[in-house]
């Protein structure tokens, strides 16, 4: 898998290429079959160009997401406009807005309900680090505490252009992944075991009842 290309922005002008190259090295560590790589490229092309975001937003950033869908910025140009309201059909969850302690399990559940491959973009200060509400008793300080985040988009709220930039960063990341290749997609969710344990517990409780 080579360096990912994005229309209209040269590779060098993107931020944080170091992390991307590091990921690329990890994935390509064992080498890959030519046929498989070609097939992977096709699949990755499909996936990266058909990112259907989930209709999720908790506060201010969600309004910018709406503005992004509207005529001036038009996310349909990228094929992102098919916002799904059901998590089952979405590929991407744009965490727009503060996640509070009460919302955290709900968000986690939404994420668990999504079908693989799924991605998370943390939009805005609140989801990156807690943002304006870092001192609060009821705010999750960084959504990476509960979800595996792929891209961080800082801003309060970020401009719609910054949203696109984040989405294109994600596309770049999607373009280097392996679907059929030797090394499969990195097991990126560090909270997975926790969630599975919880699920088992719930199943047990249900069976007892």
């Amino acid at each position: 898998m080579g360096k990912p290309k994005i229309k209209s922005i040269p590779y060098e002008e993107f931020k944080d290429n170091e992390t991307l190259e590091q990921m690329l090295d990890e994935l390509n560590a064992h080498g890959a079959n030519v046929v498989v790589t070609t097939a992977d490229k096709l699949i990755n092309w499909g996936r990266s160009n058909s990112v259907w975001p989930m209709n999720f937003g908790t506060s201010c950033c969600a309004i910018e997401l709406m503005a992004m869908g509207a005529a001036r910025f038009d996310m349909a140009r990228f094929g992102f406009e098919v916002t799904r309201t059901s998590p089952r059909q979405a590929d991407l969850i744009l965490v727009c807005g503060t996640i509070t302690n009460k919302m955290a399990p709900v968000l986690r559940r939404l994420y668990d309900q999504m079908a693989d491959p799924k991605y998370v973009i943390a939009i805005g200060g609140c989801t990156c680090t807690g943002g304006p509400f870092t001192k609060s008793y009821h705010v999750v300080k960084g959504v990476d505490k509960i979800l595996p985040v792929d891209v961080y988009v800082p801003g309060c709220p970020p401009r719609p252009e910054a949203f696109y930039y984040g989405m294109m960063q994600l596309q770049r990341k999607m373009k280097i992944e392996n679907f059929l290749g030797t090394v499969n997609r990195k097991e990126k969710d560090e909270h997975k075991e926790e969630a599975e344990e919880l699920q088992k517990k719930i199943i047990n409780q249900e069976q007892e009842a």
């Binding site: 699949i43 499909g46 160009n49 140009r77 990228f78 309201t85 089952r88 059909q89 079908a115 491959p117």
Partner: protein
């Protein structure tokens, strides 16, 4: 007008010459199947692309333009993605019914696909109760939707499914009534014959004037409702029921519903084109012989697709203009307005036909 039955008959006799008839028919069936599947896929992709562009233009945007030239490859990317997406299996759903539901919906649209006359002599199923068959098989779709809602074991899908049950069963009546109006005018239920008559005597919408226009409008409304498209998208009702009956479907399961929605849209428009706008019959204006000759030169299937896509655009225009109806508005529209009017329309058509007032 070129008659495709010459080609099909020649092909049939060619096959029969080298093999027994039953194998020939078998091979022909396979070819037809392939033809339907390919056409199905192409149409779905074209329609989805068209919907996204048209809707963008209605909303003063420009729509997909970054994947391929003018975004032409957008839908291919979507299909690829959906094919490689995980299919979620839910613990508490009724697995068998849940997995079967999308195929019911697909089957319904496949079957209705079969009875559309694409060109003169080019239809897959052509029998004397074609219109009847069309109504009958299009009713299978509602079973799929009901099953999807029921088997999902979830609250929103079940509300969506129940709504769709009420809606489809009601609007089927109007569809039947309006088709009956046309059948009355043509005196036949055979779809190829209906089109042939239109080629000979002028399009039904002109020939049947007032009652035919009324029937056409009612058919469009009811057909739109049959396709579950806005403003009749109550079973999906994004803002109320998240995604309605297919809330719990992921990957290709959802993909099938998505495809079927667009195919149903096409079938609805194709049927409107067939029975009202003359199917493959070219536009003929009496008196303008030169113009008519040029029109007749254009192949029939081009006419057919042009008319069908015109109706598709009309339906998209409606969809992207109106707010969604509420369930009681929906039912009162059918039972208080469309049904009585179409009944009255049948009587009117009967009078028109009996008194020889057709154009």
């Amino acid at each position: 007008m070129f008659d495709f039955s010459i080609v099909t008959k020649w092909f049939h006799s060619l096959l029969c010459g080298v093999m027994p008839e039953w194998t020939a028919i078998g091979i022909e069936c396979l070819i037809v199947l392939l033809f339907i599947i390919v056409l199905y896929a192409i149409l779905a992709i074209v329609l989805i692309y068209m919907e996204r562009k048209v809707c963008a233009f209605f909303q003063c945007r420009i729509g997909p333009n970054r994947v391929g030239k003018w975004g032409l490859l957008q839908v291919f990317a979507d299909v690829l993605k959906m094919l490689t997406k995980e299919i979620i299996k839910m613990r508490q759903s009724d697995r068998l019914l849940h997995d079967m539901a999308p195929y019911f919906v697909l089957a319904a649209s496949f079957l209705t696909f079969a009875c559309i006359p694409w060109n003169k002599g080019l239809e897959i199923l052509d029998f004397n109760v074609g219109a009847f068959f069309f109504i009958a098989v299009s009713g299978i779709g509602v079973v799929g939707i009901l099953l999807a809602g029921w088997a999902s074991h979830s609250k929103y899908p079940i509300i969506g499914a129940m709504r769709s049950g009420a809606q489809l069963i009601s609007y089927e009546l109007s569809i039947g009534m309006t088709m009956l109006t046309v059948i009355m005018l043509c005196g036949t239920m055979q779809l190829s014959e209906i089109v042939q008559q239109q080629a000979d005597y002028g399009w039904n919408i002109v020939r049947g004037h007032v009652p035919a226009v009324l029937a056409f409008i009612i058919y469009l409304i009811a057909g739109n409702a049959e396709c579950n498209r806005g403003p009749f998208d109550l079973p999906e009702a994004e803002s109320e029921l998240t995604a309605g009956y297919h809330t719990e479907y992921s990957g290709m399961g959802f993909g099938f519903f998505y495809l079927a929605e667009y195919l149903n849209l096409f079938i609805c428009s194709a049927m409107a084109a067939t029975i009202f706008l003359g199917g493959w019959a070219p536009l003929m204006i009496p008196g303008l012989d030169g113009f008519n000759a040029v029109m007749a030169y254009i192949p029939g299937f081009v006419w057919f697709f042009a008319k069908a896509f015109f109706v598709v655009f009309l339906l998209m225009w409606i969809r992207w203009t109106f707010p969604r109806l509420r369930i009681d508005q929906l039912l009162s529209l059918e039972w208080k307005y469309l049904l009585p009017i179409s009944m009255f329309n049948i009587i009117l058509m009967a009078l028109v036909v009996c008194l020889g007032l057709t154009l």
